[in-house]
Symmetry: C2
Subunit: 329 residues, 2 copies
């Protein structure tokens, strides 16, 4: 399902990250960073919610608005029952839609908001996501304190909060179109190889986006997925070539951008709902403002995994949602 | 945030329930029922997803459409990472938005779909939810097999799947308006008294809905919440009277409608994302088609609880979303 927009703009964004992301190659592009994983909270779960709240307050300050100016807050995260988002929404008091599509949640939120703003059903919206390495590891696999070794295909959940303020007020980043993805399931049960799980969903959404709009991949200066990781990225390239005969040259994955895979202990790269929006709102928007990039396609990919389902030996389905961003002049 | 619609209709619905719901006072109003909790699946989780899929296929049959006719599937449930919905979406292959606002998910889905249909961004949408007594009890409290006693304020998660097919094609049930709620938190930590947790969110959304549209409560033939339960219902009435000076006379709660509280072992009544839509799509739509009811307001309430947060002694926030339905003549 693909939409095109004429009146939707990202007025500003705010990104706040943990120590690993700050030490990564894009560290200087984030608005704020924290030195530890607790962020002065008692639990990792509270720390994640705090990062989310800080990112909302941060973007409000940048657009010079207050909470009462905001029509809608859309947020999602990886925690069971999306509690990071729920507790953030509770503190903020803005009308709230909770969403879940794992690491594709950021773009799901942007699409719901864009559709409402395009038709003036709301005047503005804050779209947020968060993730936290320790809260996610604890919930989906093992507490990081156990120090268990991991396969090289594993990604490292990013720690951070990312918020975007959307309205019909014209600024230099325009949301131009979007595609809602379908759930794919290629029968993979390996919870340590999310890139393999998500690559087919990414391919499906990318192909349908191009088909629906009658576009060639070269329409975009760059296509960014997030977060397939070092191995998933290659799977996607091969899959796109073999299945659709599309050569992915103008393509990169946020998992391999946010961290230095040679220097940092992150295996196949970054992941988590925050990974792609941190890279997009931090680094890519900077490149767009500098006119280094003018038209980009962002494909957020989510592995719809649950610890319960993994223990029941179920396959892991995946989804991907895409949104195209343009420099507005 | 309140919206009004002119072009959104619920063309048909499908409800499928477990044994307790079928044995309840509204049993004859559901489209289908299952005799046990496994529904020929290996796990309760798979059983829940099966009920969800059956409800989607059921409504498709009733509106004489196939999966390829459907633009969008919006679904949510109580399972961690909404796996019931994800596995359903995986089998269906319709573009999919996963949502979460606990037992308020049904109305969240209807609102997102209505906004898109109203402005012709999509031509139709299936909105679904599911819940399952045994999968929910296991995840949020203890496996039912333990047979632990419970306080009287506890509700009994309904087992079922409920789907609605929405489009701009005129039929006799019109979605007239809707209000997206805010998260409320009154500091309650008792995971066995959801009615107390959710009543303030219900009151807030009801009040703002009436304020935003300049309506008196008497505008509606009936207001239905779901699912505050026997105790929460009284809390809501008292709270509305004391806080807003609104007397709730034309009001009922789905938790106390779906079960016979005197005869069935359900404590304070039914709950789960399926409870309110089962009552609405099953019984209330029948009443509307018979012209016994012409204008109703449906307020879905959700306790944004997670086992992790409860164990960390966090308070339980809540949310409520409202939608008004009218007989279209």
């Amino acid at each position: 399902m693909t939409f095109q927009y004429k009146n939707v703009f990202i007025n500003d964004t705010y990104t706040i990250v943990g120590p690993y992301e700050y030490q990564g190659p894009l560290g200087s592009y984030f608005d704020a960073h924290k030195k530890d994983f607790y962020v002065k909270q008692k639990t990792f779960e509270d720390a994640e919610s705090k990062l989310l709240i800080d990112s909302v307050k941060g973007v409000l300050k940048k657009v010079k608005k207050t909470i009462s100016d905001v029509d809608l807050f859309i947020s999602g995260d990886l925690m069971n029952q999306i509690i990071s988002s729920n507790y953030a929404a509770s503190q903020l008091g803005i009308p709230y839609l909770g969403i879940y599509s794992a690491c594709a949640s950021s773009v799901e939120g942007l699409i719901i908001a864009s559709n409402m703003i395009e038709k003036q059903q709301i005047k503005n919206c804050i779209c947020s996501v968060s993730s936290h390495n320790n809260s996610a590891e604890k919930q989906f696999r093992y507490p990081v304190e156990y120090g268990g070794p991991k396969p090289k295909t594993t990604t490292f959940t990013t720690t951070g909060g990312a918020s975007a303020f959307l309205s019909s007020e014209k600024t230099n980043i325009k949301i131009e179109s979007a595609t809602i993805g379908r759930v794919n399931d290629f029968g993979i049960t390996d919870a340590y190889h999310m890139g393999a799980v998500m690559a087919p969903a990414c391919a499906d959404t990318l192909y349908r986006h191009l088909q629906d709009l009658g576009r060639d991949i070269s329409y975009y200066d760059m296509v960014y997925s997030g977060d397939l990781g070092a191995y998933g990225k290659d799977i996607l390239k091969e899959y796109m070539k073999k299945t659709y005969n599309i050569e992915l040259k103008n393509y990169e994955d946020s998992a391999t951008m946010i961290f230095d895979l040679k220097r940092q202990p992150v295996n196949a790269g970054g992941s988590g709902p925050a990974c792609l929006p941190l890279v997009t709102y931090g680094y890519l928007f900077h490149q767009m403002k500098e006119k280094q990039l003018k038209k980009i396609l962002i494909i957020a990919t989510g592995a719809l995994m649950s610890a319960t389902a993994v223990n029941q030996k179920k396959t892991i389905p995946s989804i991907a949602h895409a949104i195209s961003l343009e420099v507005f002049e």
